[in-house]
């Protein structure tokens, strides 16, 4: 079991969708939201995903396919 932390940003047209709920249903992972800011035109969530690494990777792909931008919790670390 691994626990990885991500910053997930939603595009404007997905702000109203229950995306975190959906990936918890679609993949065998546990989602744990720790901080978020959702507004009319944008939204982001800092979330921990727990599960097998391969399953977390699949969930990340799923988030990207839904139009989300997924980064490590540190955002960009390549300087």
């Amino acid at each position: 079991m691994s626990h990885l932390r991500f910053h997930v940003r939603f595009p404007e047209d997905k702000v109203k969708e229950p995306i975190i709920y959906q990936i918890g249903r679609e993949y065998n992972i546990v989602t744990n939201v720790r901080r978020a800011d959702v507004r009319e035109t944008t939204g982001w969530v800092d979330v921990e995903l727990s599960g097998e690494i391969a399953e977390i990777e699949r969930a990340l792909d799923g988030l990207r396919k839904k139009g989300c931008v997924v980064d490590p919790i540190e955002l960009n670390v390549v300087e």
Binding site: L4, E48, D71, I73, E74, N76, V77, V78, E79
Partner: protein
């Protein structure tokens, strides 16, 4: 009581011991160093600083290290150049260039942050240090690690230019070329930092690493005769440098080195990667990540970790933000070189381009004491200006040819 009180979450203010951690376990917010300013105030003075080492370590009382076994003992204390020619060109009475193109040992401001990071990493017991980088950071970590006998891993994207790879290989770190793009390297390094007990300078050592930038503020104030500038222009990549200059200026007030801070912060980005400046100009307190496309590679961070905090600090200071095109970046590099004899890398072109723009807009005024931060050396990004500097004047090897070409008489004078 030590000068470092704790690591504190920038979001929820929860405190942690001063170890190699960087994210709040409660809210996942970033951590930064909190100091015992009252204790520091008793120990620090202008005289003590002036009698200290000729490097940024003269400000050790305000840096997050415990001892004096420094990695990078010569970093910092770079010249603050009174830029009379550039000032006259722009219409500014008192313009200064903080010239980190000559920082030791790798000619960029990264030598400051890396010196602090590796000194702290060694204090925390790390024998291996690492970073993820496309340029200046990798150079600096590799060089400092070599000098400090630390094992070093540098992670780079597979498509990085050969010259930049060479700049790392010379110090013989483990250069790991990751098959993939920037995002792949980014994600992998975050995972490696979580799994291995290494000092990843811009990940788990980041709270200490970032503090090194404060020394640019301390030095500016000391070099101006213990006065804060009216305006500063700062290049932004992650946004960390701008926020730490702001923190540094205020710390000098907290510990009694200066009476007031009235400085306005001005952030500079390239148009091809300007998430922070774009948000500021739109009046937003949040930024939208972008895919970078600019020649200013050292500023090309599309999802900047300190973007939110840079927006906040700039607004607090009643400052401004701007962005410039790649063409203006090249013009800025040339202008600085041809007026002040300082060859800056592309980030310096961004800073000078934005300075020029802000003066034109009336944001920075003629009589204001202004400091522009030039953070890296032009020899590192020569490809950016190779088509913009002309060619040498070619002549036959004879005195006649020389004098004819340059229209010189016997007493000199003339021109080509």
């Amino acid at each position: 009581m030590t000068k470092m009180k704790a690591l504190v979450c920038r979001e929820c203010a929860k405190e942690y011991p001063t170890k190699a951690i960087h994210v709040c376990e409660m809210c996942f917010g970033p951590l930064e160093v909190k100091y015992n300013y009252e204790e520091i105030k008793k120990a620090i003075s202008r005289k003590k600083i002036q009698e200290g080492p000729h490097s940024m370590w003269r400000y050790i009382d305000l840096l997050p290290v415990e001892g004096t076994n420094f990695v990078g003992p010569h970093a910092g204390l770079t010249p603050l150049v009174r830029a009379k020619n550039l000032g006259a060109y722009l219409g500014l009475d008192e313009l200064y260039i903080k010239n980190d193109t000559v920082n030791h040992p790798t000619l960029s401001f990264k030598d400051r942050v890396v010196a602090v990071a590796l000194t702290r990493a060694r204090e925390l017991g790390f024998e291996t240090v690492a970073c993820a980088s496309t340029g200046n950071l990798a150079n600096s970590v590799s060089a400092h690690a070599a000098a400090a006998n630390l094992h070093c891993y540098v992670f780079i994207p597979g498509d990085l230019e050969a010259a930049k790879v060479l700049g790392n290989l010379i110090y013989k770190p483990h250069v790991v070329e990751v098959e993939g793009n920037y995002d792949d390297v980014n994600r992998l390094c975050s995972e490696i930092a979580g799994e291995h007990g290494w000092g990843f300078v811009n990940i788990n050592i980041r709270p200490y690493y970032a503090e090194g930038s404060k020394t640019l503020a301390y030095e500016t104030v000391e070099q101006l005769g213990w006065k804060t500038p009216d305006q500063v222009v700062i290049p932004m990549a992650s946004g960390s440098l701008l926020t730490k200059i702001w923190k540094g200026l205020h710390e000098m007030k907290y510990v009694g080195l200066i009476d007031e801070v009235h400085t306005k912060l001005n952030g500079a980005q390239a148009e091809g990667c300007s998430p922070i400046s774009t948000a500021f100009k739109a009046g937003r307190d949040f930024f939208k990540p972008v895919k970078p496309k600019t020649i200013a590679k050292s500023l090309a961070i599309g999802n900047p970790a300190d973007g939110y905090y840079a927006l906040k600090a700039t607004a607090e200071s009643k400052g401004a933000m701007e962005m410039v095109t790649d063409e203006e970046v090249v013009d800025g590099i040339k202008l600085l070189a041809q007026t002040e004899g300082i060859f800056a890398e592309t980030a310096g072109g961004v800073t000078i381009g934005v300075l020029k723009k802000l003066v034109k807009q009336g944001v920075i005024k003629k009589n204001e004491v202004t400091v522009a931060y030039i953070t890296g050396n032009g020899l590192k990004t020569q490809e950016a200006v190779i088509d913009a500097v002309g060619r040498p004047t070619r002549i036959q090897p004879s005195l006649v040819a020389f004098e004819k070409t340059f229209k010189l008489g016997k007493n000199g004078g003339g021109d080509a």
